[in-house]
Structure formats: structure tokens, C-alpha cells
């Protein structure tokens, strides 16, 4: 739990990450995502409860826990008078790497920052600044990367680059926790997600399972001949020869067709629209709001 005076920023939140997975912490602005991530990296002290990073308690064994974590903050860090290479050298030094030039060079090349290593942060483009934050976080070979809103306010091209990078990091075996309020991002990247709202964890599970649990599929059936008026609990629209149903994930199209006694020969066209994480998110948040 994390309180700021009377405000409960994080309440009774409990979850764990599987090694090597990309986990998304989703929630609207002010949901408690940054408070939670700040607690993991010790920027905030938990009011109560425990955070373990690879078995190390972040409050009692902060040094050991911090060595396992790479933190990418939401906002750009400027570093005043220092250039990219100096920033990397100091930062990896804080983690106990004195002569880390090989790793620094490897990371800067990988993130296309090597030609800009003598530039100061203010001379870099927005994308380069973001990549520098990631390079810093990777400088000490962490097992876990925390990305706080990595694509907030970035253009589509940079977003795609960052997504690709996250996938590459996962292939290298790094566990990733990212916070985002872009649900498309979470759906594209995360194997599991947690939905947090007003400091409470409302839903947690594999992304696909949450989508199936909290959304319905839409089925558009186009028949050869218009059907007489149909009464079916899952029917949401009937216009001429076009029928639209919204069905739970566990129900099949075949079952619907069978219950309506429509043979496949009668069907001209059949379309299904799967539910999205956004729909699941809205449902979860909506349920909370209606409580």
C-alpha cells in the first residue's frame, strides 16, 4: 500500500511477474501506476506491504534489489553539461561498473546513439532522448526493466521502434514491466496485464484471457434471402438479410447458426469481430465506476 496523506495511491495490490514475460500495468491517468513503479525502484517508500525483486526486499535489501532493475522514467532526463557517453559512464558506475566501455559501446550502437555519443541531451531528438533512457537502464545488465509510459507523447514511427526494442529485450530473456494507458500497446506487447484504477488492482491475467472474459465477439451473418423477424437473446440487429449477434467468447458461430436453423448453404458472408483489450478495460473500469 502507498498513501499520500489521506490519498490512497495504491491499495492492496498484489501480483508477481514471470521471468522473461512482458507484463502491462494498465490504468487511466492517476490510477496509481507510477506510484507502484516508484515503490519498486525505491523512489517512494511503501506505507505497508512488501516488494520483492528476484527475492530481494526493496526496503530491506535495496542495493541487491536495485542491481536487478533497470528503470526508464516517463519524463526525459537532461543531465546538464554531460554528453551521452559521460552519462552512460557515470550511470553504470553508480551500479558498480567502473570500466564498462564495451557494454556502453554495444548499447549505444544497438540503440543508434553511437554517432551522437559526444552530444549533450538537449542536442538529441525526442526519439534519441527516449533511447538514451533505455540505454542507461540497460547499462548494468538488469534482469528486470521497468518502463513507465514508454510511448507517452511519441510519434508512430518512434512508437514502432520502441515496440520492436521491447520485443528484442524480451527475446534476450529480460523481464519487462511497462505501465501504459495505451491499450493497443499493451495488447500488442504484453503476455499478461493488470488493470489498476484508483489504486486498486481490478483485473489480472493473461491478456487474451482477460479479453475473452470481459468482451464479446460480434458476428455478422449475411444470408441469401432475408429472414423473417428473429427473436434470439444474443441478436443485436437485423436488417434485411444481415444479422448481427454479440456472443460470449466460449460460444461458437456453429452453435448460433444451428440454433437459428441456418445452414451454411444459406450463408453468403460471415464476419467475426473479436473483442479488444480496450473493450475489456472499459468493462472492468466501467464496472468499478458503477459500484
Amino acid at each position: 500500500m502507498k498513501d499520500y496523506g489521506k490519498v490512497k495511491a495504491v491499495q492492496d495490490v498484489s501480483f508477481h511477474l514471470e521471468p522473461g514475460e512482458v507484463f502491462g500495468l494498465l490504468g487511466p491517468n492517476g490510477a496509481g501506476k507510477t506510484s507502484l513503479i516508484s515503490t519498486i525502484v525505491t523512489l517512494e517508500k511503501p506505507t505497508s506491504g512488501q516488494v520483492l525483486v528476484y527475492g530481494f526486499d526493496v526496503t530491506r535489501q535495496p542495493s541487491e534489489a536495485k542491481k536487478c532493475v533497470g528503470f526508464v522514467p516517463q519524463e526525459i532526463v537532461h543531465h546538464g553539461f554531460f554528453n551521452v557517453e559521460e552519462i552512460m559512464r557515470f550511470y553504470s558506475g553508480y551500479f558498480g561498473y567502473w570500466n564498462n566501455q564495451k557494454r556502453i559501446e554495444e548499447l549505444l550502437k544497438k540503440l543508434s546513439l553511437w554517432p551522437h555519443r559526444h552530444k549533450k541531451v538537449r542536442q538529441l531528438s525526442g526519439g534519441m532522448k527516449r533511447r538514451l533512457l533505455i540505454a542507461k537502464a540497460l547499462s548494468h545488465n538488469p534482469k528486470l526493466i521497468l518502463l513507465d509510459e514508454p510511448t507517452a507523447g511519441v510519434d508512430v514511427e518512434l512508437r514502432d521502434q520502441l515496440w520492436e526494442l521491447i520485443r528484442e529485450l524480451q527475446k534476450e530473456g529480460i523481464t519487462i514491466l511497462l505501465t501504459t494507458h495505451y491499450l493497443e500497446e499493451a495488447e500488442a506487447l504484453c503476455q499478461r496485464v493488470g488493470i489498476i484504477h484508483k489504486g486498486k488492482l481490478l483485473a489480472l491475467g493473461p491478456t487474451q484471457e482477460l479479453i475473452e472474459k470481459f468482451t464479446q465477439r460480434e458476428i455478422h451473418i449475411c444470408t441469401k434471402e432475408p429472414k423473417s423477424a428473429i427473436t434470439h437473446p444474443l441478436l443485436i440487429s437485423q436488417e434485411g438479410n444481415r444479422l448481427i449477434f454479440r456472443i460470449p467468447s466460449h460460444q461458437t458461430v456453429g452453435e448460433i447458426l444451428k440454433s437459428l436453423q441456418i445452414s451454411l448453404d444459406d450463408v453468403v458472408d460471415l464476419q467475426t469481430k473479436e473483442g479488444s483489450l480496450e473493450q475489456a478495460f472499459r468493462r472492468v473500469i466501467g464496472e468499478e465506476l458503477s459500484c
Binding site: 525502484v41 525505491t42 523512489l43 535495496p62 542495493s63 536495485k66 542491481k67 532493475v69 528503470f71 522514467p73 519524463e75 526525459i76 532526463v77 537532461h78 543531465h79 546538464g80 553539461f81 554531460f82 559521460e86 559512464r89 557515470f90 550511470y91 553504470s92 558506475g93 553508480y94 551500479f95 558498480g96 561498473y97 567502473w98 542507461k136
Partner: protein, 260 residues
């Protein structure tokens, strides 16, 4: 053991490079200020001030050396914290395995180095003026004590700078501390005058100013004369550095590292 100190050395190198990159502002400007004090007060006005056993310029040099060390040590540590609060890299200290004591000593030593550069150059310029006036250089009566007081003073004031900067909520608050507390303590600590020239009430009150002991410690180190007992000055210097270290630790533990 040495490996555990890599975070400390990294931060210390960063601190030294930080002021080195803006050396005109951090080192040359204070030296110009000290030189003007020497010229205006020491050389020009000083000719009309009669002292018992030394010229006023000779009396002034140790005070200005220590003032340069204390001021610059304070400013280096405080401006490092404040600029990091603005740029956001203060969070780097917190999310990395740097311990609070490593942060304190790295910033304190960074401040001390800058202070010692300013103090040393001020001493050299003072020597030139003194030679111009008296055709001889000032001696150093007690080199070990001189270095000891300079180091303890510089480290203490850098730690004060760190503590104040990490606790304040705005640049205004830091400025207020400097202008209303630090500058009066330094100026009334015997840089420009001997407290023996004061009214007994003010002389007595001056003994509660810890800066008085640092300045007299340095004056004793260079000239061999002092307004206060040197064992007492040494005791107060040690007590000061221990106290401000504890206060720095408390301040780091209980302050936010988040950006402004």
C-alpha cells in the same frame, strides 16, 4: 571492498567534472571576487588600518581563503542537487545502489575540491599583493592545522549545502538560506576583523558562531595568531562535521529525489 566504492568514485568524478565544465563560473568568478576584496580592503583601505603585529592585508588573507573554501563548497553541493532536481537525474542516485553516505561524501569531496582550488588561488593572489606591499611572502605557521581546518570546513559546508538543497522546495528558499543565514555567519565570523575589536557583548555572542572557529583555525595555521582557543576550535570543527553528516543523512532519508 574497493568494488563496493565504485558508485562513490563515479559520483565523485561526476561532481568534479560538473564544476570543471563551467570553470569560469564556478572557480574563476569567485577568485575574481576574492582578488577584489584583497585589493580594495587589504591593499587600499588596509593601509589605514593599524594592527598590533601584522598588516591588515596579512590578517585578511587567511579569512578570505577560508571564506572562499566555505562559500564554494556550499555552493557546489547545493547547486549540484538543485540542478539535478530540475534535470531529473537526482532520481538516478536513488534508483541505483549508491548509499546515502556515498552520496554525502562524493558531494562533500566535490565541494571541497572546488573550495580548495578557490582557496589556494586566493592564497597565491594574496601572497602576490603581500609581496607587493611588504617585499616578502606570508609564511605558514602550522601547515598541518591549516590543512585540517580547510578540509573539515570545506566538507562541513558542502554537507550543509547538500542538506539544505535536498530539503528546500524552491530556489528561493535556498537563496534565503544563503543570504540570511550563511552570509551573515561568514561575514560576522571574523573574516574582515578580529572579534577582540568588538563590544564585549558582540564579542561574547560571536563565540556562538561556528564559522568563527574555522576562520581562526585557518588564521592560526597561516599566521600563528588567533582570537579563540585552537583545541576548542578543533573540537567545534569535529563536532560540526559529525553533526552535519548526521543531518545530511537524515535529510537524504526523509526528502524526495523526484524532479521539480
Amino acid at each position: 571492498m574497493l568494488e563496493k566504492q565504485i558508485p562513490f568514485w563515479s559520483l565523485l568524478v561526476r561532481e568534479v567534472m560538473r564544476f570543471y565544465k563551467v570553470i569560469v563560473q564556478t572557480v574563476l568568478a569567485p577568485i575574481v571576487g576574492s582578488s577584489l576584496y584583497l585589493l580594495v580592503f587589504g591593499v587600499s583601505l588596509g593601509r589605514q588600518i593599524k594592527m598590533a603585529d601584522i598588516s591588515y592585508l596579512g590578517f585578511l588573507v587567511p579569512g578570505l581563503v577560508m571564506m572562499g573554501v566555505l562559500n564554494n563548497a556550499f555552493q557546489n553541493a547545493s547547486s549540484s542537487i538543485i540542478s539535478s532536481k530540475f534535470s531529473g537525474d537526482l532520481e538516478d542516485y536513488k534508483v541505483s545502489p549508491l548509499t546515502y553516505q556515498q552520496i554525502i561524501w562524493a558531494l562533500a569531496l566535490g565541494g571541497l575540491f572546488r573550495g580548495l582550488i578557490v582557496g589556494t588561488v586566493t592564497f597565491c593572489i594574496g601572497q602576490l599583493f603581500y609581496w607587493g606591499m611588504h617585499h616578502q611572502f606570508l609564511g605558514v605557521a602550522h601547515p598541518f592545522l591549516l590543512i585540517l581546518f580547510l578540509i573539515i570546513g570545506g566538507l562541513s559546508f558542502a554537507m550543509i549545502g547538500l542538506s539544505v538543497a535536498i530539503r528546500v522546495k524552491s530556489v528561493d528558499q535556498l537563496g534565503a538560506f544563503g543570504n540570511f543565514i550563511l552570509v551573515p555567519l561568514i561575514y560576522l565570523g571574523g573574516v574582515f576583523f578580529s572579534i577582540k575589536t568588538l563590544h564585549p557583548f558582540w564579542e561574547h555572542l560571536s563565540h556562538f558562531n561556528p564559522v568563527l572557529y574555522f576562520i581562526n583555525g585557518v588564521r592560526y595555521g597561516i599566521l600563528g595568531t588567533t582570537d579563540v582557543s585552537i583545541p576548542l576550535a578543533l573540537g567545534i570543527a569535529v563536532l560540526t562535521i559529525v553533526s552535519v553528516n548526521v543531518f545530511s543523512l537524515y535529510s537524504l532519508r526523509n526528502s524526495s529525489f523526484s524532479r521539480w
